[in-house]
Homo-oligomer: 349 residues x 2
DNA sequence: CTGAAAGCGCTTACAG
DNA sequence: CTGAAAGCGCTTACAG
């Protein structure tokens, strides 16, 4: 005997009703006589019937699932506690609205391949620093989406923070402490040609730094200012510190573009017996929980990570439901400078 | 003009070919003349065609997606770093095998509702301590699944750790340090009637504890032994400490069933100016990264969280591919006792 | 209160 | 190398 799938027709046959009735029994049981429903449910149980999600989706044109489109491999992404918080925000909305969440990393190295294949009602796109056709593919797909922490597009909804403002404030803090030899450790962008070719949040943070430097008649090209790119990991931060500390002209402050990088810098400084902030100041960006636990605790820019996730998902759910305020949704959230123990006056040499 | 979806038929019409050819152009382009493929792809681009995932799934009977069935709300689950690690393990396999990952928490409070609705090729079920029909629903659904950290079922594949062994070793360590007043802080089960009614990992850990106590002619009911249940959060741990410290007969050691709870205990101990391990010893279970960073660093049982995720996903992928070793897959992984700074000799009173 | 029929948008033997 | 046709398993107006 072939182990054929039990279908709705099988249940209908067994209960001596139509497929219509079976469908109604599961989805709209109050439109059927009570006895009929009972009869159908019994038949379904006896046969071990379980509805087919794909068929239902095809018919109803809904999946009740949100997609999170990621620019990197899943295990890499989850290394950064940032994403855990972001996921929590999205998760709150999903829960409340009854959506499941599909994590969709690049397939065979390409986001373009995952966009048309994911069975979702809408996408949250996170960290698309450099659009290489993804936005067009998303538009072609014809379902709502929001860009988060990404390069901006005029006609595409987005949720972001004021990266530039945050970084300007942070550098202002360091400059006012007398720091003039500053290393800026950015998140690797994978582009050539230095910061001129950056995009998205990394570029905006750099612009904030530039603005702050300018107010002291300095620039990224000034003596004493170093700009470098590392992967957004603890290891990346540690490597950055080692490289910078090996220079003959050491910086008095290291500005990391993310907390996880800054924590790596602290690790390496501790290993090298370099006192923070006496010998060197270190700053982060994000305000992860770890930033306040570290020793010394980390001066950083707080951004509302969870809120970002929640708002992006809320917007998406609204769009899916058909709210037409869609096109011009650009949300920009504010940041807060938190001065803790990892920054102090520039050491006098 | 109606904004109708662009379908494969539209592309076929425009390119003057059949739907078959269009499908082939996208999925098997080498079976078509090069010129035909080019022609079709152009037509598709002009029309902005994007294939329909639901239709493809219905036809091919594949979703290329794994489901992670969760016993709690998404945002609650992600509060525990345990899950981040577990997800990383699953993520590795998903990545390698080309699957996306669907996070499927209970819908409207019930896992039973999410099981038949998720468009996945298989489920990883995590932390199903107490089966209330979920296993039957899963079997009825007719796709492969693995139980992780769950109540055991003879004919259902599972991946777990040796909870009992780990906890026995841990209590052995404390007993050998002279502790005789021990509080056991378990993870809330939601069942009535104390540990006799527990199931799954929590029960197995308790059994390990009982075995260790027995070797010193003690039992959970002995003088000095307290058993209590709290939510698996830092706050839960803090509350447990406060309650225990308020007793007239204070314990000399607190055994938490998870690191996150133990870290909460340490928080509260610090707040109360109670010295660990001089005044009280504290132990965890899991060995999260945080366990070695905390001060004092935490004595705990290491379990291979990431490996568990990876193995569960690997098994699932194999089952989906049709490997028939399915029914009798029961994997049990070992644990390791890590003695750090949070445990010491029982204080003499 | 229940059923017959259409159709969601694909893929895949099969035939030529 | 390409196409006609069947069919995956549902839901939903519509009719009675």
């Amino acid at each position: 005997m072939k182990n054929r799938r039990v279908t709705m027709q099988d249940v209908a046959d067994r209960a001596n009703v139509s497929k219509t009735a079976v469908s109604l029994a599961f989805n709209n049981s109050n439109r059927l006589a009570e006895a009929t429903v009972k009869n159908i449910l019994e038949a379904a149980a006896e046969l071990g019937y379980s509805g087919d999600p794909a068929a239902r989706m095809l018919r109803t044109r809904r999946t009740d699932s949100l997609g999170l489109l990621l620019p990197q491999q899943l295990d890499k992404v989850l290394e950064n506690p940032y994403y855990t918080q972001f996921l929590q925000g999205i998760g709150q909305t999903c829960q409340r609205e009854g959506f499941t969440l599909l994590l969709a990393p690049p397939l065979r190295g390409s986001m373009l391949k995952t966009i048309p294949y994911a069975a979702v009602d809408g996408f949250i796109v996170s960290g698309l620093e450099h659009d290489r056709g993804e936005v067009k593919a998303l538009q072609q797909r014809g379902i709502p989406f929001v860009l988060v922490d990404s390069e901006l597009h005029d006609d595409v909804p987005s949720v972001e923070i004021d990266d530039s403002e945050g970084m300007e404030e942070l550098l202002g803090h360091l400059l006012s402490l007398g720091h003039r030899r500053i290393a800026i450790v950015a998140i690797e962008t994978g582009t050539e040609g230095g910061y001129q070719n950056w995009r998205g949040p990394v570029l905006r943070r750099m612009q904030g730094a530039i603005a702050a430097l300018a107010s002291h008649a300095m620039a990224p090209e000034s003596d004493g200012i170093t700009v470098l790119e590392v992967p957004c990991t603890r290891a990346g931060g540690a490597a950055a510190f080692q490289q910078l500390w090996a220079q003959t002209e050491r910086p008095t402050a290291i500005v990391a573009f993310s907390d996880i990088i800054a924590l790596g810098v602290l690790d390496a400084a501790r290993d090298a017996d370099v006192a923070v902030p006496q010998e060197i100041s270190v700053t982060g960006f994000d305000d992860l929980a770890e930033a306040s636990w570290s020793s010394p605790s980390l001066t950083t820019i707080r951004q509302p990570i969870e809120t970002k996730g929640r708002l992006a998902a809320e917007y998406l759910v609204e769009s899916i439901a058909g709210a037409s305020s869609a096109r011009d949704h650009h949300q920009r959230l504010h940041t807060v400078l938190l001065v803790r123990d990892s920054t102090g006056p520039a050491p006098v040499r």
